[in-house]
Subunit: 260 residues, 2 copies
């Protein structure tokens, strides 16, 4: 392998706490000039906020080093024949869609593409129903999902993420969403194409055996599992075999030098 | 056949307009002493409201002549070993669950059964997330759906019904809902049991080729399609063959006397 994709939460930090050695390892990655990207399914924060978070933990990163579902979706949309886009995304993610034709916020018809992100508390009946009416009123309208994460651990307990709302719209319309985010292959391929490295020469490092490791492997990449973040020993008995299991991101340089 | 199930909306009336001849036919049904029930997937109105609507259109009916998903669900719950029930149903449907142990409205854990009805505008992120937390916090908790209607035609346009919200919870929890309502076989069997007539001797009359006709046939009943309500000629080319197609409910007596 000669390039690396880094999942962020659970690999470099746990929520607001950096994982020991992460900053040193990322310094080593830069010194070795290993092509790399940070890949995350977060659709509630923009790349600037994510970059600032990495920087705060002593990790050098530019916005261009980060791939989010919103960026991948906007990139795909720019390649299509144009048509109005309806955005159901947090304000922080809206700027990724600059330059595209964005439908006004209250419109209930006229969208060619309907983009569903993680709105959290902003989801209510009227908002979800508006997305449904947009899809129902045009048989050709495409449903796009910023990832398919089912839920996440918030400070007050588990919270629904983007996937259940996409599932609701899929069920209501009988249409299937195009998913931009892990574990979807198009997302990993977008990362490969940004780095200019073939998929088979890329290692994806993550703490989610399914989303990170199995997803990467299905897309033709190698998958590394770290024993940090949401990792549980039972993950290794679920039928997915990582190409490598690392105690933490700290073990990366040692494994890398042995593997070369 | 010797008993009849009547779908309501689309068969006896269209929204607020009675279908011509419906009151006369229902008088004939009572004179002939044909066992019958009104079966509807409505979970936003209680049986009293539905009875009053029928009465307003000149159709004699008692609450006991009406089978709703809420009534069928409550009946099933009373047969189970007891356990707290969390209700996500409109106020009008709550009284059906009298006598069961109902979880307080803000609880996020402790439910053995989670009942999802059609809440319309009352759905917001917190409410759906609360249903999710109740299910996630107890692996044994059962998800119950008051029907699986995807959407309905309101005066201001299409509106999401109960099914998309059930689908969201199914996706988030990886659990499958027990569905009480058409086209689920348990619902038709509950109707048969209430009338004390074997399924094979019951005719279900509805305007929905899938929910009413195919559902009834799969449950061992006969299915009649009326060319009123949401009926469209293309319905007859979808691979489901009704046992009889009636111009409208008005044609029932003539068909019935020929069929005997």
């Amino acid at each position: 392998v000669r390039a690396i994709l880094f999942d962020m939460d659970g690999v470099l930090y746990n929520s607001e706490t950096p994982i020991e050695g992460a900053a040193e390892v990322m310094r080593w990655v830069r010194e070795q000039r290993i092509p790399h990207l940070f890949v995350t399914n977060t659709s509630s924060r923009g790349r600037r906020q994510l970059k600032e978070k990495l920087n705060r933990f002593g990790i050098a990163a530019e916005e261009n080093d980060i791939l989010t579902p919103a960026l991948a979706t906007a990139g795909w949309l720019r390649e299509q024949t144009s048509g109005p886009v309806a955005l159901f995304v947090k304000p922080a993610a809206r700027s990724e869609f600059d330059g595209l034709t964005i439908l006004p916020d209250q419109a209930e018809a006229g969208a060619r593409y309907v983009v569903i992100g993680d709105l959290q508390e902003a989801w209510d009946f009227r908002t979800l129903n508006r997305a449904f009416r947009l899809l129902h009123s045009d048989r050709e309208a495409v449903l796009l999902a910023l990832g398919m994460t089912r839920y996440w651990q918030a400070s007050d307990g588990l919270r629904l993420d983007v996937a259940p709302f996409v599932a609701a719209l899929e069920h209501a319309t009988g249409r299937q969403a195009m998913v931009f985010g892990k574990p979807g292959a198009p997302f990993f391929h977008a990362a490969a194409s940004r780095m200019g490295v073939p998929a088979s020469q890329i290692l994806m490092i993550g703490d989610d055996i399914e989303t990170d490791v199995a997803g990467a492997q299905r897309a033709g990449l190698k998958g590394a599992l770290v024993r940090t973040g949401k990792f549980r020993p039972a993950d290794l008995e679920c039928g997915v075999t990582p190409d490598v299991v690392l105690e933490s991101i700290r073990s990366l340089p040692e494994w890398w030098s042995q593997a070369q």
